[in-house]
């Protein structure tokens, strides 16, 4: 791969629909962790549930809007179910239960029993559910080159998906900004800083936490649908590592900030492409084969997460005084 090609790839990754989908999911997590201080370690579960809800509804003949509604309702119920036993307990209980529940969704989805509904471990093919969304595309049905980058007009990872997903990200970033500075958002920040103080003011902390969990989860489900438009519904791509990536990119950009999730997602995915590309260029094949580049890049992600939390927990955009991660 030459250097110009790598640059094109890296810049394409900056505005790719996957980047937008992860940014949206991270905005959801920002409601949980950034605003309320909830440790949701099962965000990929919300995403997977969302894409299952959408894909199955559309495949069985439902309309696109019904599919989105089903996905949101599923995520809402999932949030309520998880929050019910754990939100009254210490933070790490929520972490353990959410990660367990997300894995449960994945195991159930890929099990042989559910094969007729969820497609087992192979998942659901894109052609089964993408048609209604792609039919709405105003772009012509061919490859279009804008600037350096060539993408298809309307199918799969397309310019249409780019436009829709970044609009969604913009809308929800705006929503986050509005809600975070509302009286409701101030109560959530209070819960994050000192739960007992908020309780002594007569607020129902449990209800506020539950609202944040549900809203963030629903946004996560929408992020999952966006992701599935560019790829396919596959349970194994929504395992624990996905949740950890979302955490990394949220902490990288800066939790509790409006643009943190977006900046984090762009940097995270661009950096992954750059690391893999540079490794391919500069490290000879005898030292690192092509299949070893992916784990190598992900080792750096893990190390980056550790260093971030230790040395700069507020991320790039965050304010250290505002957000100190505490137990």
């Amino acid at each position: 791969m030459d250097f110009a090609g790598l640059l094109t790839d890296a810049t394409r990754e900056m505005f790719a629909p996957t980047t937008a989908a992860f940014a949206l999911a991270a905005i959801g997590l920002n409601f949980h962790f950034g605003l309320t201080g909830l440790l949701n370690m099962g965000h990929a579960g919300f995403m997977l549930l969302g894409m299952y809800g959408y894909a199955i509804t559309v495949r069985e003949g439902g309309s696109m809007w019904l599919g989105i509604l089903v996905a949101m309702v599923l995520a809402m119920l999932f949030g309520l179910l998880l929050g019910w036993p754990t939100l009254k307990l210490r933070g790490d209980y929520l972490a353990i239960v959410t990660i367990a529940a997300a894995e449960f969704v994945r195991f159930l989805g890929r099990s042989s029993v559910m094969k007729n509904i969820t497609g087992g471990s192979t998942g659901i093919r894109g052609s089964d559910y993408k048609a209604p969304f792609e039919a709405l595309s105003p772009f012509p049905d061919k490859q279009i080159t804008i600037g350096l980058w060539t993408l298809h007009g309307s199918s799969s990872t397309s310019w249409w998906l780019v436009v829709v997903s970044w609009s969604m990200v913009a809308i929800f970033a705006w929503l986050f900004w509005m809600l975070a500075r509302s009286p409701w958002g101030r109560v959530l920040k209070g819960v994050r800083e000192d739960e007992d103080a908020v309780r002594s003011l007569g607020k129902n902390v449990y209800a506020y936490k539950m609202q944040a969990l549900v809203i963030g989860g629903v946004i996560g489900a929408l992020g999952g649908i966006l992701w599935s438009f560019g790829n396919a519904v596959s349970p194994d791509s929504m395992g624990r590592p996905t949740t950890f990536w979302i955490w990394t990119l949220l902490l990288l950009g800066g939790a509790a900030t409006v643009f943190g999730p977006i900046l984090g997602s762009v940097l995270f995915w661009t950096a992954l492409v750059l690391v893999k590309g540079l490794a391919a260029m500069f490290i000879p094949e005898t030292l690192m084969t092509a299949t070893q580049r992916e784990p190598f890049a992900l080792i750096l992600v893990g190390v980056a997460l550790m260093l971030l939390v230790i040395f700069r927990p507020q991320g790039i955009l965050g304010n250290r005084r505002e957000l100190a991660i505490n137990g």
Binding site: L39, M41, W84, P85, T86, L89, R90, G91, D92, Y93, A95, I96, V97, I99, A100, A101, E103, F104, F107, L108, R110, S111, S112, V113, K115, N116, I117, R240, P241, F244, W247, T248, L251, T286, L287, M288, T291, Q292, E294, P295, F296, L298, I299, V301, G302, V303, A304, L305, M306, L307, L308, V309, I310, P313, I325, N326, G327
Partner: protein, 370 residues
């Protein structure tokens, strides 16, 4: 920390177990309905054991049924014992430092993978070193070296990562996220090292030994003896030695322990060494039990470990033991009614149910949960 397993605890464990069995039955009924309505070919559940439809086969299915239940019980106890090796360490770390260590699964994988690296007759490589070579040690020697190195990684981790973090006053939540980063890095490092395939620690085939109604592999039996000896050793250490008493004191109240002259830092270092060593041993024995291991073997176990530890009561070493046995038995028993690929899912449902009715776990104390 509770020092003995009294009768109350056993009753509680049985109640949890019965509750889980009831839930599995309900799920299996719902599942079998939906599966039969759509497709029966993929349905591998032997639901017909309870409803012997033809009189000629009724007796044989009945005996096969009890056999299967007994066999699953034995398998579950074996798996639970091996799981306990890994989860006791997780629980000890939580008890003494308050950290939910998400990288503990990778400690398990590390033990198994290192053993493979040392004993396999195939040529092996190290990342960034373009030379392949063969080590091919005997299994026992390789396993002992692997356990020692595992314990060494525990020491290294605490010395260079966790104890500086504690000294800086980094919160437990922050430490938990650090452990997630470490788990991601270690998982991918192991994948880079040995690749994504599945490999066996020994080429010997486990010879089954028949014990009346149930059979158990010879290697499994030896593994169980080793595991029980180690768990017994840890219990003896915790209950009877001075250092063990000090460990329990730190687990109960670090500040008070420190004030009464116990060197908390040293105790925690010791706990890390023990936990990492036990996890390595658990990984090796599980690799033998399941006749294969992989770079993500421990990562897949992590959820079961957390379920066991939470079930027994976070931070209770003996709770982890009881919890592991319950989880092991329930997971194996569930395969009688449910397909094997839902084994882990069942354990996770139990975890959530336990948190609903008894968040402090079987051995935990109610007042510690806020």
């Amino acid at each position: 920390m509770t020092t003995t397993i009294d009768r109350r605890v056993i009753v509680r464990a049985i109640v949890v177990f019965l509750l889980a069995a009831a839930v599995i039955t309900v799920i299996s009924v719902i599942m079998s309905d939906s599966a039969q309505a759509t497709d029966t070919a993929t349905h591998v559940v032997a639901a017909d054991t309870s409803s012997g439809d033809s009189t000629t086969t009724a007796t044989t299915t009945a005996t096969a049924g009890t056999n299967r239940i007994l066999q699953s019980l034995v398998n579950g106890l074996a798996f639970g014992t091996l799981l306990a090796l890994a989860s006791v360490g997780l629980s000890l770390i939580y008890g003494t430092t308050g950290l939910s260590n998400f990288a503990h699964g990778e400690q398990v994988s590390f033990g198994a993978v290192l053993t493979y690296f040392l004993v396999t007759p195939q040529p092996v490589t190290i990342p960034f070193v373009p030379v392949s070579f063969t080590i091919g040690l005997p299994l026992v020697v390789g396993a002992i070296i692997a356990i020692a190195v595992s314990a060494g990684t525990g020491w290294l981790q605490d010395k260079f990562l966790w104890s500086p973090l504690r000294r800086r006053g980094v919160g437990t939540v922050q430490q938990m996220i650090v452990s997630i980063g470490l788990s991601l890095a270690m998982l991918n490092f192991i994948q880079w090292w040995v690749g994504g395939g599945r490999f066996r620690l020994t080429i010997e085939i486990d010879q089954p030994i028949s014990l009346g109604l149930v059979t158990i592999g010879r290697t499994t039996l030896i593994s169980l003896v080793i595991a029980l000896a180690c768990l017994g050793g840890v219990s003896w250490f915790l209950l009877k030695t001075r250092l063990g008493r000090a460990t329990r004191a730190v687990s109960d109240n670090p500040a008070l322990a420190s004030a009464s002259g116990i060197q908390v830092g040293k105790i925690i270092r010791l706990v890390w060494i023990i936990a990492a060593g036990l996890a390595g041993l658990g990984g090796i024995l599980l690799g033998l039990y399941e006749e294969g291991t992989a770079f993500d073997a421990g990562a897949r176990l992590l959820m079961l470990m957390f379920a066991a530890v939470t079930l027994g009561g976070l931070g209770q070493a003996f709770g982890a033991l009881v919890g592991s046995l319950v989880i092991g038995v329930v997971a194996e028993m569930s395969t009688i009614w449910l397909p094997a690929d839902l084994k882990v899912a069942v354990a996770l449902v139990i975890l959530i149910l336990v948190l609903l009715v008894r968040p402090q776990g079987i051995l935990g104390r109610a007042e510690r949960v806020g």
